[in-house]
Symmetry: C2
Subunit: 502 residues, 2 copies
């Protein structure tokens, strides 16, 4: 006799929905790695078919009935029991999915697809004007979406932020970002005043195959399981999962810049380890994902930056790198190498930013999103507002719109609002989590210097990965970090690293 | 106003069915090329889900109603008009799909999946005994399948042969195979009596990447479009299509045997060009496939053997190969190279067979299938019957069951009957088609010697590829070859090549 018959039927039904999404991710992975150009038209059509099938099967009235019955069955279970967490998260996803009328969803997807297509041409042509009317409609649709998903929200951005960072709001994030901005601007100014270190050796040409081999072996040592994953080249790196046991990462390499392979691989391995580390029981369930965009990003930033750009890590790892790339690195001591990979150089490009300036790029975008949604800024004035913000916050003149307002795909492929905050939440959390791990295991820094990462990896798996979406992000952060989201540790970390004498 | 409203609705509906199959092929391609071991469990589940969705959408009662209405709409159209051919082929597929009860289909798939799994362990263990009871059930299920799909057939194999070679029957194939066998046995005996040529240079180690680069460039020159396809490594090569514009081939390489890369690439490019050459209007329709297994195989054999193992072809291609693999080939003249790749050496393994012995492997299997289905042979006696047939037909002692009755996956992964005849039909047709092309364009042999393949490629595209399943195989053969399937030209080709002085 099944203890929870409705729950079991719900679970069997949603298993197919999760699997259809998993298949659509394989289509995406293939498109970004190996698909020949001719495959594009059918790929778009087949992806849309899978998404439609998954959506239809999810918003079905029978799912609603099963959810109600399952909610009664799990009453009284602890909130973090598998069945209780499953039903709670499935209900949240279901309400969101049925909140938007089908006609709106079709219009929204058609519009964002057309906008993305236009952006792929407008960006290289530096043609901001072409995007203005499209983005005006995006803004209108974003308001509508916000209204459907979070009627009566305190701020129109709140329901959009909740899509990726559930539980975070403008009211909680704005003060936090203001504190960060206030502290970062003078730090960046001071660091930029120092002449940059010599880093020509990073651009010494080397074999991409050798770079990838070195980085693969290193992330395997971190804990990324190559029996349940793989590393492939792409243009815009990402991690992606087809099941709990097939979680792949894609990376970008340049023969003449060692950093590309190293840090895209470290970064994506953090995302990959998160999904590989889920409780295997979550396969085919709505719990099989990260707690939020911010928590996901904390795992990538932990390995990319907190570990991967630290002197301690390279004390252990550098001899092997130097052997593999002796032509470039033979004369370069470890301190010079670590200085070079941490050089602070304000740049107009977010993805090329160093640790210190990175969050200023995010804050500029976050504030512009709010201004647009609040009606304080018109879309037609966005490019100019972008330039003004970069001048003010980063002290930079933006050379053109291509490397200005047109640089990120986000606004041109989805709603406006909620697209960027996760990056900075992730940076902040990466240090909170690392410090919590070190409080529990004070030997972690020494182990990392010795090239051993297992204790840190196991801590992240135990306190973050395996829970998936069992806990709401704020609860998971509280449990894992020992306190709420807090910029204090992150700012102390940045000051210690970039302004040790200040 | 739509001219054929029911047809248009049918077409829209079946587009999704074809796309779901296309997606399932991507899953298969990935599994055979890049999937990490951990992905296997979810991959089997997700593939089954897609197949189930495609099947459900196809056998739906509404498809039956639309088919009837569409049949009325296309009455009076020429048989090879797009709409008429579409409806005829869709009707045939539909009747086949609804003929078998769902419960039988489930039992059949569960049984063949379990049998395949057992075979993957039994073959390396040389454990024929384990497979006997499984294959006994397969035989029983094959009879049932034959009864469902072709009630009242003259021979129980006929409906099974029709699954891949529609229009061919035991009655038409048996005399043809008897003629072949009678002519081939003495040819093989004579060729085996000659000491084999020196071919050690073919096993000189070389870079697999360089092998693949050379073979890719050559099949691109044949006509395989790399903008709408790609070449990837796998264990058991195949060609596969996700759409008309994304048709990939997979190949097998050995550093110490140049032949593997060359001939698996040539072979699969023939299959790939067939699908790439379909009328683009066939995208998403049941017409988007080869006319039959035999006609498909004719295209692969044309490029692999008739062109790819000919002296004329290598007169043009060898200088480039010799430059790329000078260490191995510097001292080897073109005649010696062509002799070496055409050495006749009876072997127990079908896939390692030369052109002369290959069809004897097929004929042995075809005859054993008939004996099993007619009840003249019991499954428990099959291994012994296999040994006897190899001794009689190829003069070989089969060393064990692993390289005997267990060698091919076919009987252990699908029904018994109809699995092998397509290979020999393809060999026979490859020469009929080549001769028809040369009758129309007598310069083809000269062009091939000069490294130009466009005339031959265009002939195959015009007379075979673009039609897809528009014509029944027998009609296509008649139109393209100028006559029915006929072993005469093929036997003359083999005699001229392997026994020129006889």
């Amino acid at each position: 006799m099944a203890e929870h018959p409705a729950f079991d039927r719900l679970r069997a039904r949603l298993f197919d929905v999760v699997d259809l999404h998993g298949v659509s991710y394989l289509l995406k992975w293939d498109q970004a790695t190996y698909m020949p150009p001719g495959g594009a038209v059918a790929r778009a059509r087949q992806t849309a078919l899978l998404k439609t099938l998954a959506h239809e099967r999810f918003v079905d009235a029978e799912v609603g009935r099963l959810l109600e019955a399952a909610e009664r069955e799990v009453e009284g279970l602890p909130a973090d029991a598998f069945e209780a967490a499953y039903v709670r998260v499935a209900r949240r996803d279901f309400e969101r999915a049925v909140a938007t009328p089908a006609a709106f969803t079709r219009r929204f997807f058609a519009h964002t697809a057309a906008t993305y297509q236009a952006w792929t041409e407008a960006r290289p042509a530096d043609d901001w004007g072409r995007m203005v009317p499209l983005l005006e409609e995006t803004l209108e649709l974003s308001h509508a979406l916000s209204g459907y998903e979070g009627p009566g929200a305190a701020h129109p951005a709140d329901p959009l932020i909740a899509r990726s960072d559930f539980g975070m709001t403008v009211a909680t994030l704005q003060p936090l970002f203001a504190t960060l901005r206030e502290a970062l601007v003078p730090l960046v100014r001071a660091a930029s005043a120092v002449p940059p270190p010599d880093d020509a050796f990073l651009r010494h040409p080397s074999s991409v195959a050798a770079q990838v081999a070195w980085a693969r072996a290193r992330v395997a040592a971190f804990g990324y399981d190559l029996e349940r994953g793989r590393v492939d080249p792409t243009a815009h790196p990402f991690a992606i999962e087809f099941s709990v046991d097939d979680v792949r990462i894609t990376i970008r390499s340049r023969a003449d810049d060692l950093r590309e392979t190293l840090f895209t691989t470290f970064h994506e391995s953090g995302h990959g380890m998160y999904h590989q580390g889920l409780d295997p029981r979550f396969e085919g369930t709505p719990l099989a994902d990260g707690a939020s965009a911010g928590v996901h990003e904390s795992q990538s930033r932990l390995w990319e930056n907190v570990v991967g750009r630290s002197l301690g890590f390279w004390r252990g790892a550098y001899p092997s790198l130097r052997t593999a790339f002796s032509e470039a690195l033979d004369d370069v001591p470890v301190d010079a190498f670590v200085n070079a990979i941490n050089a602070v150089r304000p740049s107009p490009i977010r993805t090329a930013a160093d640790e210190l300036t990175y969050n200023l790029h995010v804050i500029v975008r976050f504030e512009l999103e709010l201004a647009l949604l609040e009606g304080r800024l018109a879309v037609r004035d966005l490019a100019e507002a972008w330039r003004a913000a970069y001048a003010e916050v980063l002290g930079l003149e933006v050379p053109n719109d291509r490397d200005g307002v047109l640089q990120d795909v986000h606004w041109f492929s989805r709603e406006i609002g909620g697209a960027f905050q996760g990056y900075t939440i992730g940076n902040v959390l990466s240090v909170q989590f690392y410090e919590a791990a070190c409080r529990a295991h004070p030997d972690i820094p020494t182990e990392i210097e010795a090239g051993r990462y297992a204790t840190l990896y196991r801590w992240t798996r135990e306190h973050v990965h395996r829970h998936g979406r069992t806990y709401d992000p704020v609860d998971l952060i509280e449990r894992a970090a020992g306190g709420p989201l807090d910029v204090g540790p992150y700012l102390r970390y940045l000051k210690a690293k970039f302004a040790p004498d200040a």
